[in-house]
């Protein structure tokens, strides 16, 4: 079966597209799938850093598109997983170095040999977004439970529908269950009620994500944390498995709660 192209996008910047791409990719690869991630954020590349592959880049996406190297030469193998590759973005160029049809062509070339092709889209709705969306079979929209991020996600979902790439599937990232409970943060239900698309992932706020990003190791590879599990669940759902959504706050056991009563600032 030829590979599926999954584009991860958001509209607003900083909601966790790159983290989501890296972790969903790693989770798929760890489950035995052949995965290649493409960083479409030309000029502001990040995915290589999150995967810890920054110092291995020789050729990049623009080199492939402009014919300076073969696709294989630009694919960097992950340090931990055998069937996990990255095609990095060029840092010295901009989005106009690649066209939507280039991306379609590139993905057609990758499809036969891979199960999943993940594209990390840049923020915004301009050329870079169009490039990332052009070859997509499945679009994941990442948002945070904040009004501004949800507004942009809504716009992006509309554009995806107009491009007939829909229906988009939604990942809600950085949910703080405490704040939701207090009513200070939009709940997943609030977000879904507005956006009216299928939910594919709920990821809790987790400081381990920042640590793993800084170390360049996707959290799904060494984490037992809830966010790691949430990313693994998204990967399973992409593969068509039925995975129930875990409630966000059930690890607050009685002892932890007691401990926090005694030491409010400790964990």
């Amino acid at each position: 079966m030829p590979g599926q192209v999954v584009t991860v996008t958001s509209g607003k910047g900083g909601v966790g597209k790159t983290t989501a791409t890296a972790n969903i990719g790693a989770a798929l690869a760890a489950s035995g799938q052949k995965v290649v991630c493409i960083d479409a954020d030309i000029g502001l590349r990040n995915l290589d850093v999150v995967l810890g592959l920054e110092n291995r880049i020789v050729y990049d996406l623009v080199d492939v598109v402009e014919g300076r190297c073969r696709i294989r030469q630009a694919m960097i193998r992950d340090k931990h997983l055998n069937d996990f590759f990255l095609i990095p973005a060029a840092q010295t160029r901009d989005k106009s170095a690649v066209s939507p049809s280039d991306m379609v062509r590139l993905c057609e070339e990758l499809r036969p040999d891979h199960d999943w092709i993940l594209i990390d889209s840049p923020a915004g709705i301009e050329r870079g977004f169009r490039n990332a969306i052009a070859p997509a079979d499945i679009v994941l929209v990442v948002t945070n439970p904040e009004v501004s991020a949800v507004r942009d996600a809504d716009r992006i979902i509309g554009l995806i529908e107009a491009e007939e790439k829909g229906p988009a599937r939604l990942v809600i990232n950085r949910i703080k269950s405490e704040m939701v409970k207090r009513g200070d943060m939009l709940s997943p239900d609030d977000v879904l009620e507005l956006l009216a698309v299928e939910l594919i992932g709920l990821i809790p706020e987790d400081e381990h994500v920042v640590m793993s990003t800084n170390q360049g190791v996707p959290i799904v590879l060494n984490g037992k944390s809830k966010s790691a599990q949430a990313f693994r669940d998204i990967a399973s759902r992409l593969k068509g498995e039925e995975v129930p959504f875990t409630p966000l706050d059930d690890d607050r056991g009685i002892f932890k709660r007691l401990a926090r009563l005694i030491r409010p600032e400790g964990n």
Partner: protein, 231 residues
């Protein structure tokens, strides 16, 4: 009369020159003749050339590229059945394949030309942020109007769903227009020349109807009991 060695076709990505049989010198010459003949028509275009089985070296191809750019055109792709030529094109940074014809899709605006009239349109979809629905008559929408979307109507606006975007009824200055929605919570509501914002939500959403009364926009909840009494 010298037989034409090349054909020009219009494709989605610009123009495609297809070379016929013959030596490269002949084809090269007729490419240039063609371009010169139609210079004013072609100027500024993006050009792809299908050279068939011609084997081209980098010198020949870059010469052609320069000649083409001297005529105000851009050569972006060289198609060939010869691997050598393909490789040459790649080293020059030219594409060697055209993209599959896939119609370029953009957001389809639902705008209609504004004419006076009493017609209504029925729209069955959710308007997401960035979408603008404009109509000279009445608008009936089945679906939500999300924040960041807008409806501008010459007449009344009825929304069977959440109305959370911007709505302007009676846009031509008709202050007798009304707006009603199952959940009337627009970021801004305009009727004719009057502008109002939604007060803080109190309790559950309920159907409401907004109209201008004494120069102010007033929203009245739909109440089954009072409706029943009036009838």
């Amino acid at each position: 009369m010298p037989q034409l060695k090349v054909q020009i076709k219009g494709i989605r990505d610009g123009l495609l020159l297809v070379a016929g049989e013959g030596s490269w010198e002949e084809i090269h010459a007729s490419i240039l003749t063609q371009l010169d003949d139609q210079a004013s028509f072609l100027k500024g275009g993006r050009l792809a050339i299908d050279v068939g089985n011609q084997i081209l070296k980098a010198v020949e191809m870059s010469k052609l590229r320069d000649e083409i750019s001297e005529r105000g055109l851009t050569l972006w792709a060289v198609l060939s059945s010869s691997p050598t030529t393909e490789k040459t094109a790649q080293t020059l940074g030219l594409a060697t394949r055209l993209s599959k014809p896939r119609p370029e899709r953009t957001t389809r605006p639902l705008e209609t030309t504004l004419q006076s009239g009493e017609q209504a349109i029925l729209v069955h979809r959710t308007l997401r942020s960035g979408f603008s629905l404009q109509h000279a008559g009445h608008v009936v929408l089945i679906g939500d109007v999300n924040p960041g979307a807008e409806i501008i109507a010459g007449g009344d606006v009825i929304v069977w769903g959440h109305l959370r975007g911007m709505v302007h009824a009676g846009a031509g200055g008709n202050e007798g227009a009304v707006v009603c929605a199952l959940d009337l919570a627009p970021t801004q509501l305009r009727i004719g020349g009057q502008i109002a914002t939604t007060p803080q939500r109190r309790g559950k959403p309920q159907p409401e109807l907004a109209r201008v009364v004494d120069g102010r926009v007033v929203a009245v909840p739909w109440n089954p009991k009072s409706v029943g009494k009036r009838e």
